[in-house]
Amino acid sequence: MRVMVFVKATEDSEAGLTIDAETTAMFEAMGRFNEELIKAGIMMDGDGLRPSSDGKRVAFDGASRTVIDGPFAETRELVAGYWIWQVKDMAEAVEWVKRCPNPMKGPSEIEIRPFYEMADFEAALSPTAEAIHSRNAVAMAKS
C-alpha cells in the first residue's frame, strides 16, 4: 500500500529555517534515515515545505474565492514536510515512523495517511472525467 507521511509543523518550523548546530545535526540524522528508507525499498518521494507565512489559502464558498495570506493559525495542523512510502501495511509504516529521528526541536507529530486506490474512484468517474484525467496523467508524465 502507498501512504503519505506528513511531518506536522511546530512553532519552530513555522518560524523558518534557523541554521545552528542542532539543525545541522537534525539534517544529518534525517539524511541517514532517508538512506535507510531507500535501502529498505519503501521510499518513493519526499520533501520539506517552507513555513505557512510563505503560503496562501483560497477560501471557497459558492462562486466566491477569497485569497488569505499566511501565516495560518492552528500551527500543529499545518504540514512542514512529507514522504510517500510503499509499504506492506499500516503496521510497517508505523514502525518506520517510530524510527524517524525527532523532526523538530520540540515535541511534534507525524501523521500517516493511506492513498486512495484507483478502484475507490471507479464509481465516481464519468467517461468524460476519465478522458480528462487520462490527458492530464500523460501530460504530467511528459513534463
Binding site: 535501502k39 529498505a40 525499498g41 521510499m43 510503499q86 510497517e92 476519465e130 496523467a137 508524465a141
Partner: protein
C-alpha cells in the same frame, strides 16, 4: 474501539521483525555460513523478542538486539558441539583457545556493514549452483519473507514441492561453502546478471497473473519491485540494476489499466491512460535517466525500459514515437538477439514505416524454429496484411494464430479479427 494492548504490542513486534528479517538472516548467515541455520536462528531471535519486548519495550535498535539474540543462540550451539567433542576425546587447552577464536570471529563478523550483508545474501540466494526455480523460491523466502505456502500459491504449485525446493537449495548452498560476500571483479557482472534475472522472473510471474486468480500472484510484481528498489539502494551505481528497476516500475504503472472489468486483456494502445500510475512512471523515468547517465543506455534492461518509457510518455496511442521505438529495437536486437525481439522489431518498424516494411522483416524470420508454434507470429502477420489492404491473406493468419493460442480470451479476440477480414 478498544484495542487489546498485548496484541497491539505483538503486532508491532511482528512488524519490526518483518522489517528486519532479511537483514537479520543476512547478518547471521555471514556468521554461521548456512542460510538454513541462519533462518532458524532468526526465528529463535523472534521468539526471544516476543518474550522480552512486551515487558521491556521495543529496543531503540531492534536489529542489533535481534542479531545479538541470534548470535547468542549460535554461540550456544557451538558450545554444545564443543561439549560433545570433549566428552568423546581428550582435547585440553587447544579447544579452549579455539573456542575463544570462534567467539571472537563471531563478534567481528557481526560488526560488518549490514547493507553489504544483505547484498551478500541476495547474491547467495541467486547463486548459479541453484536452478532458476530454486533461486526464485529462496529469494522470496529469505529476502521477501514469504512463507512456503505463499510461494506455492504464487507459483501455482504445491507446498511440499516448494518446501523441498527450498530445502535442496539450502543444502546446495551449504555444500558450495559460500562466504556470503558480494562477488568482485569479473565474477561480479555474471552473478549480478543472475540476480537481475531472478527478480525479473518474479516480476513476470506476477505480471502474467490473470483476473480472478489468487491475489498473491499479482502481489509478486510489488515484491519484485521492492527487491529492485532495495538492490538499487544498495548498488546505486549499477546501470543495469537501475535499468531493471525502471523497466519494472514503468510496466507496473499499467497494471490497473490492462484488464477490462470482465477480465479480458486490453492492448497497450487501447488502455485508458488515466489508470496508469504516474508516480511509478516518474520513478521509472528517473531510474532510466540515471542508468543512461551512468553510461548504461545500451544495457538489455535499460533498452527495454526505454521502450516502455516511449509508451509512458505518449499522451495518446497516436502520439507514440514509433520511429524511436523502431530504433531502440534495432539496438536491442544487437544486444540481445532473439527471434521474439526480431518479431517485436518488425512490429515497431511496421508502425513507424508502414506494414510493407514490417511484412518484409517478418518474412525473414518466419521460419525460425523458436517461432514455430508462437501464436503472436501469425497474429502479427495477419495484422500487417490487414493494414496493407490484403484482408483475404490476413484472415488465414488470424485463424492460424487462434488455433495456436493457449488463452481462451485471446483466441476469441483473434477469431473476431479473422471474421472482420
Amino acid at each position: 474501539m478498544a484495542l487489546d494492548p498485548s496484541s497491539d504490542v505483538q503486532q508491532a513486534i511482528e512488524a519490526v521483525f518483518r522489517i528486519e528479517r532479511a537483514r537479520l538472516i543476512a547478518g547471521l548467515a555471514r556468521v554461521v555460513r548456512d542460510v538454513g541455520q541462519a533462518e532458524e536462528l532468526a526465528q529463535d531471535a523472534l521468539v526471544s523478542a516476543l518474550a522480552d519486548w512486551p515487558r521491556s519495550g521495543i529496543p531503540t535498535n531492534p536489529l542489533a538486539w535481534l542479531l545479538a539474540a541470534g548470535k547468542r543462540r549460535a554461540i550456544d550451539g557451538f558450545r554444545r558441539k564443543e561439549m560433545l567433542a570433549r566428552k568423546h576425546a581428550e582435547i585440553g587447552r587447544d579447544l579452549e583457545d579455539e573456542r575463544d577464536t570462534q567467539v571472537e570471529d563471531l563478534e567481528a563478523a557481526m560488526d560488518d556493514d549490514i547493507g553489504a550483508e544483505l547484498l551478500g545474501l541476495i547474491f547467495a540466494a541467486c547463486h548459479p549452483v541453484l536452478s532458476a526455480e530454486q533461486r526464485a523460491a529462496l529469494t522470496l523466502r529469505l529476502i521477501g519473507g514469504l512463507s512456503t505456502e505463499e510461494i506455492a500459491r504464487a507459483f501455482l504449485t504445491s507446498e511440499p514441492t516448494v518446501a523441498q525446493r527450498i530445502v535442496r537449495a539450502k543444502k546446495a548452498l551449504a555444500n558450495a561453502g559460500l562466504d556470503f560476500e558480494v562477488p568482485r571483479g569479473a565474477e561480479r557482472q555474471a552473478r549480478l546478471a543472475s540476480v537481475l534475472a531472478v527478480i525479473y522472473l518474479i516480476f513476470n510471474e506476477g505480471y502474467s497473473a490473470t483476473a480472478g486468480e489468487d491475489l498473491i500472484r499479482p502481489a509478486l510484481c510489488a515484491e519484485a519491485q521492492r527487491l529492485g528498489r532495495i538492490l538499487a539502494g544498495l548498488m546505486p551505481d549499477e546501470p543495469e540494476v537501475l535499468g531493471l528497476l525502471a523497466l519494472m516500475e514503468i510496466q507496473a504503472s499499467r497494471l490497473n489499466a490492462r484488464t477490462a472489468p470482465d477480465g479480458s486483456p486490453i492492448l497497450l494502445t487501447d488502455q485508458n491512460r488515466a489508470r496508469w500510475d504516474q508516480l511509478l512512471i516518474r520513478r521509472g523515468l528517473a531510474a532510466l535517466q540515471r542508468a543512461e547517465a551512468l553510461g548504461g543506455a545500451n544495457g538489455p534492461y535499460a533498452l527495454q525500459a526505454a521502450l516502455a518509457a516511449c509508451h509512458a510518455r505518449a499522451r495518446t496511442a497516436e502520439d507514440t514515437d514509433w520511429p524511436r521505438i523502431a530504433g531502440l529495437y534495432d539496438t536491442l536486437a544487437g544486444v540481445m538477439p532473439s527471434p521474439v525481439v526480431e518479431l517485436n522489431r518488425a512490429v515497431a518498424h511496421s508502425m513507424a514505416f508502414g506494414p510493407e516494411t514490417g511484412l518484409a522483416m517478418v518474412e525473414a524470420i518466419a521460419e525460425a524454429p523458436a517461432l514455430r508454434s508462437y501464436a503472436p507470429l501469425p497474429a502479427v502477420r495477419g495484422d500487417m496484411l490487414f493494414r496493407a489492404g490484403r484482408p483475404e491473406e490476413a484472415r488465414g493468419y488470424f485463424e492460424a494464430a487462434a488455433s495456436l493460442s493457449q488463452n481462451a480470451r485471446e483466441r476469441e479476440f483473434l477469431l473476431g479479427r479473422a471474421a472482420a477480414c
